[in-house]
Symmetry: C2
Subunit: 303 residues, 2 copies
């Protein structure tokens, strides 16, 4: 029995040392582990039952990189070019979505899925010369796993299209397709050659960005999250709704301040602009993570 | 060790006898257990990994009763009356949805949720004189639990609104709010008295019925189910898409043929019409359950 207890104590202490290993000790890591301890400790007045431990994560700039342009936009640009249509201004999100919608309209969802998988397999990021799916953040992947190990259910809530994330989110993040919430292009049921298929329409049915994110969460999850993670003004309303719930809540922003290991941008950026949400984080005491000082590594491929 | 093995064998044999206890032995029950065995037996060529064991269930008429009128319509009718607007023809689904949308427009989602919970708590079914949430089918609840015990993830895919099902689906069916797919009224993010809220708009953003069901499944789950359960023509496309997938698939219709214990209706009914889907079930060998002969009991409150 003594040996058993010794073993259990050893396992417990090494598990503690291994919590979030790519995070430096500091205010951000302490805030995360303190929050998780508070909501998972039975008998604590801040205890939250597992079914309500809902955590939502933005994707672009929060779980993987988004510079020099959202990766989905780079993919979209190629689809628009291939269709022969004029190329829109890539910083005009509405124009890009419009052009992209038309370029892939009429495809079945299976055909579109194949295009995305092929593109992800062959394409390389201009700076890192690696597949885009290598550009997920190691500390955030540890955070996702840590939350799940503590009974949380983790969801992606992204401005990107569901189709672009679902093929790889399970392998990269441990998040299955049914926990990926995103923008939705119109899709229609049809019968083709006697078989039932779903075909893409030209326009978007739902844009899951900014004020759309709490709507997407309401529609899909139907519960208010207790923790939300983002990096830009597009995540502001999701963080506001999460933080406004009763009981202990957690809101966190990733600040891109590491030009060497990744990119540095915030208030002035076209992509992933962090301005209003940053001010609100300061005013409300939300956690702002410095990629430079809070993270031991950004990507898993770093030495 | 011998005692341990004896105990395990005893537990296994009594578990087998207790599988789906409210189902009579027969073709329907055998088809269900045969399907589950095939997709869960490791090494079998029909094996499906747990992550892909997605089962979708219609709600009205499949998991709970829907006569003399969808229970949500009875609730809606009261909301329309309370708003002072003219009462629409309750068999005209479009008119009902339009009138209902307007009657609850401008409410926050929290206010609407309170209205539904209050109504469900106080209202009684005209025939059974019981709360509507008592009118869930005992054999189907056993089926849901049996599938989950075999690694399935169970979803509701209903023409009803998500708001009307989520407050009680977890307790009644073991299905959490994030696995309830349904019709969606428009919802808008707003700031009221300095607090972020979601407010209901007057129209529907999505109708999850008929050809809408495979679209709802695609949007929400992003995977093709391997098993689908319905009872009416509104479930036809959901069953078609499920059955058209590769590998072993399962499609089942509940036939309401028990006027004594519940209701008897099919091809001529305004509510839950079963006509085209029945013909297709016969043509394709889908399972058609007779409530009268396949179910030992319909409701759990029966003796």
């Amino acid at each position: 029995m003594r040996i058993l207890i010794a073993c259990l104590l050893f396992i417990a202490s090494s598990a503690s040392a291994q919590t979030l290993p790519s995070w430096n000790e500091g205010a951000a890591k302490s805030a995360i582990t303190g929050f998780v301890k508070a909501v998972t400790t039975k008998g604590s007045k801040e205890f939250v039952r597992p079914a309500d431990r809902i955590a939502v994560f933005d994707n672009d700039g929060t779980l993987w990189a988004e510079q020099p342009l959202y990766f989905q936009f780079i993919f979209m640009l190629e689809q628009v070019k291939a269709s022969g249509a004029p190329v829109p201004d890539m910083h005009d999100q509405k124009a890009v979505l419009g052009a992209m919608g038309k370029a892939t309209s009429g495809m079945t969802v299976a055909e579109y899925d194949r295009k995305i998988r092929d593109w992800l397999a062959k394409s390389r990021h201009p700076k890192f010369k690696r597949p885009y799916t290598d550009l997920t953040y190691q500390p955030m992947k540890e955070l996702l796993a840590y939350l799940r190990a503590n009974g949380f259910k983790t969801f992606i809530v992204s401005g990107g299209s569901v189709e672009f994330m679902r093929p790889w989110a399970e392998k990269a993040y441990g998040i299955p397709p049914e926990q990926v919430i995103g923008s939705q292009q119109e899709v229609k049921f049809e019968t083709k050659d006697g078989k039932p298929v779903l075909t893409r329409g030209p326009s978007f049915a739902f844009i899951d960005d900014g004020p759309g994110k709490p709507v997407g969460i309401y529609r899909h999850i139907g519960k208010r999250p207790i923790a939300a993670f983002g990096n830009s003004d597009g995540d502001l309303q999701m963080l506001q709704v999460t933080a406004a719930g009763e009981g202990r809540r957690f809101a966190l922003l990733v600040h891109h301040d590491d030009a060497e290991r990744e990119f540095a941008y915030d208030r002035q950026s076209h992509i992933g602009k962090l301005d209003k949400a940053w001010d609100e984080a300061k005013a409300k005491g939300w956690i702002v993570v410095s990629m430079k000082s809070d993270w031991k590594k950004v990507f898993s491929f770093e030495k």
